[in-house]
Amino acid sequence: MKSSSALDKKVIVFQLKDEEFAVSVQQVGGIERMLPITRVPQTAEFVKGVINLRGVVTPVIDLRKRFDIEEIPYDESTRIILVHLDDMEVGLIVDAANDVIDIPEDAIEPAPDVIGAVNVDYIDGVAKLDNRLLILLNLNCVLSNDEVDDLKSVKG
């Protein structure tokens, strides 16, 4: 799954607390500045609500909250990264998004057992580039509905 035949993997790099994460450009539909969010009641806490994205109602989740990192107020550098997985389109709220880079396939290593604050389940691997460490996000797990559903069944 992880290994693609292309030698380089083009990724979008974004910031969360003091770590750098990466998602494949193929899964990214766009990057937006913060937009007004409408809260959707009785959903998981990390689901911030929905935004109006050029006429399409799109759910957004707060990645800090998703990974149990303490929340900070949104500011000028806060971005919503629109990712799609299968037919789902979801916005991820991140601290900043500032880079598109190519990662050579051989720079990618499996995720170590302990890495920062993020549960290893959400990670596809890490990439070491010069003096940067990029965490490759596994969107399948990040966007899995299991926890959303769990929450619903408890409440509803």
Partner: protein
């Protein structure tokens, strides 16, 4: 060639051709000698065969091919159109339908067709026997005729005829040339053009079938025919044409004007004049429709609609700005833009409208086979098939309507002998009528059958404990009729293959209500029953009441609102741990949206003495939704929350308000238990 990309198109078009087959078969049954109907069927079957073969669905292609043979026979008057023949034909079209549905469901469309093929072969053999008889009596002419009509040119106009006559007088020879292109030929248009180039060097093309513009657009299978005038002989011409590659076969035969005129004359004399005209009109109409429509994916229309809504929001901002600036030119331009975008909105909305005929067209055949199965004689009378409504509604109403029609056939119309004893014509009539009424479309399903037996309904309802003895006396006729729509009314006892499917009419009622519609029954015992279904024109735009709760805005669909009320807090009672109000003599439980949606409190708000309540209904039950204030009624565009957030409790979707903000739509049905 990878055919997967074409699968959707193939399925859509196949369905259309099957619809044509069904319709024209029904017509054929009524007018068995009308050649234009046969032509229509032949064309549909032929195209279907071509498409199926291209896509590699062999059984579909084979069966269509058999069917085509039969119609060839009918066209050449070698097969008589009898009821038995029609039954087999209908059955085989049913099979085709099933195959196409199988393909659309991801299957490969293969199906056991040997039995139906056998029946078709029998019919065809019948033809062959007839053919050999004919051959004995008048040998040559019949053969010539059958070849002539194989892919015969129809409807030469007077001008063309006069050219042909003229050329005959000048010792030119008139030919009918049929060119079979190679089945795998990729650039059919180009090949055709090359053939035409060759032909034009040898003589003159008078007429082509299909017409030249369709040939250019590759709108034909692989065969085309031209009427051609030349001095050369057959062999020379054949050789020349075959210099073009990818041609399978060329048939050249002399074209006789006398024969043509005779045939035309006999065809026309066979038919009642007015009928022929009518048929031609239909053919013309479908031709025109085909050339002036394009297929657009519905999600593209949705995208267009989304973008347009964004435009409307920006328009609002622009209007505001122009008012602040008080600049004459700017204001005029903005006003013009507003008008145009208003028109644009109407255009976009009507683009999504399709005639209800898409749903209705499959009913006649269904009624026909059902009534045969049940040994009833039923005529279906469809009115207003051109009534248009939104695609979203069209997609949903098929099943409920089928259910109601099956019900009418099964339980409504009586068998011929019973009808006779009741002094009714043997043939029952089901009327299916659609018409617009304001923002709704009304669909009536009326039968002239036995009507609803109120005694039986009441007994049944008592038996199933839907009502109590006391209630029986107080029920109005209308209420009794509507009992048959109640859930739990239909039981295994009444369920048959036809109208049962294991569910009752309550499912129909629920479906229609979930679409924002309603259903009513009128019935007179012994005379018949009318089901009236009322549906909104579109599901994507609904009327809703916008309300404020703290700092959030919610939309409540008007279809579920009974009324709004403002009540003193002191009028709220507590009953069984629930807060209730006395609303027009009924005890109505209150639901505080603030608590339900755990809405963050807005501390600036002053404590008020009054409650704003939206009274909503689900069936007979009511509930009062407590909000902070009513903003007003508005047409809103329904949008889903996306695939990530499915089944959010008590929220059915969202809409985008004039200021670009998203407001959630409250699903009040789940709040009433």
């Amino acid at each position: 060639m990878d055919t997967a990309d074409y699968l959707d198109v193939f399925i859509d078009e196949s369905r259309e051709h099957l619809d044509v087959l069904y319709q024209q078969l029904l017509e054929l049954e009524n007018h068995p000698t009308d050649m234009s109907i046969i032509e229509e069927i032949f064309r549909a079957a032929h195209t279907l065969k071509g498409m199926a073969a291209t896509m590699g669905y062999e059984s579909l292609a084979n069966l269509t091919h058999k069917l085509e043979n039969i119609f060839d026979g009918i066209r050449d008057e070698k097969i008589q159109v009898s009821t038995e023949t029609m039954d087999v034909l209908f059955e085989s079209v049913d099979d085709l339908n099933r195959m196409v549905e199988d393909i659309s469901g991801g299957g490969n469309g293969s199906k056991e067709i040997s039995k139906i093929v056998e029946s078709l072969d029998e019919i065809e053999e019948g033809k062959n026997r007839a053919e050999s008889n004919v051959d004995l009596t008048k040998n040559a002419p019949t053969i010539a005729k059958s070849e002539n009509t194989l892919r015969s040119i129809k409807e030469l106009d007077e001008f063309e005829l006069s050219i042909l006559k003229e050329s005959e007088n000048r010792e030119f020879i008139n030919y009918e040339i049929t060119v079979h292109l190679n089945k795998d030929c990729l650039l059919k248009g180009a090949r055709t053009l090359m053939v035409f180039n060759v032909l034009e060097r040898m003589g003159e093309v008078i007429k082509a079938e299909p017409p030249v513009h369709e040939l250019e657009e590759e709108n034909f299978d692989s065969i085309f025919t031209v009427i051609f005038v030349s001095k050369l002989d057959e062999n020379e011409m054949r050789e020349m044409i075959l210099t073009v590659s990818e041609i399978d076969k060329v048939t050249i035969q002399p074209f006789s004007i006398q024969n043509y005129e005779k045939e035309e004359g006999s065809n026309n004399s066979l038919l009642p004049r007015n009928d022929n005209n009518k048929e031609k009109e239909i053919v013309k109409r479908t031709n025109r429709a085909a050339s002036k429509t394009i297929r657009v994916r519905i999600d593209r229309l949705n995208t267009l609609m989304n973008l347009f809504e964004e435009l409307v929001i920006d328009r609002g901002r622009l209007e505001q700005i122009s008012q602040e600036f008080e600049h004459q030119d700017l204001r005029e331009t903005v006003e013009r833009m507003s008008r145009i975008s208003g028109d644009l909105q109407n255009v976009i909305l009507t683009m999504r409208m399709v005639p209800i005929d898409q749903v209705f067209s499959r009913f006649p055949n269904m009624i026909r086979s059902l009534s045969r199965e049940l040994h009833k004689k039923i005529n279906i009378n469809i009115v207003g098939a051109d009534t248009e409504l939104d695609r979203t509604v069209i997609d949903e109403i098929g099943d409920p309507l089928i259910h109601l029609l099956r019900n009418a056939v099964d339980h409504g119309v009586e068998t011929p002998d019973i009808r006779q004893t009741r002094g009714k014509p043997e043939e029952g009539t089901i009327r299916l009528e659609a018409y617009h009424s304001g923002n709704h479309v009304i669909i009536e399903i009326a039968d002239d059958g036995g009507g609803i037996n109120k005694e039986a309904v009441l007994n049944k309802a008592l038996q199933n404990e839907l009502i109590t003895e006391q209630e029986v006396r107080s029920l109005s006729d209308q209420e009794v009729n509507e009992l048959i729509l109640a859930s739990g009314f239909s039981t295994a006892e009444t369920v048959s293959d036809i109208s049962g499917r294991g569910v009752g009419l309550d499912v129909v009622k629920n479906t229609i209500e979930s679409l924002g519609g309603s259903i009513a029954i009128e019935s007179e015992f012994g005379k018949g029953t009318i089901f009236t279904v009322q549906l909104p024109l579109t599901l994507s735009i609904i009327s809703a009441m916008l309300v404020d709760v703290e700092k959030e805005k919610y939309a409540i669909p008007l279809s579920s609102i009974i009324e709004t009320a403002i009540m003193k807090k002191s009028d709220v009672f507590s009953a069984r741990n629930k807060q209730v109000i006395d609303f027009r003599g009924k005890i109505v439980p209150l639901v505080f949206l603030k608590d339900l949606f755990s809405i963050p409190l807005d501390n600036d708000k002053a404590e008020v003495e009054y409650l704003s309540i939206v009274v909503v209904k689900k069936g007979e039950r009511l509930a009062g939704l407590v909000v902070d204030s009513f903003i007003g009624q508005q047409e809103i565009v329904l949008k889903s929350l996306g695939d990530y957030l499915t089944n959010v409790f008590a929220i059915s979707g969202a809409t985008i308000l004039g200021d670009g903000q998203v407001a959630l739509i409250v699903d009040s049905d789940v709040l009433i238990k």
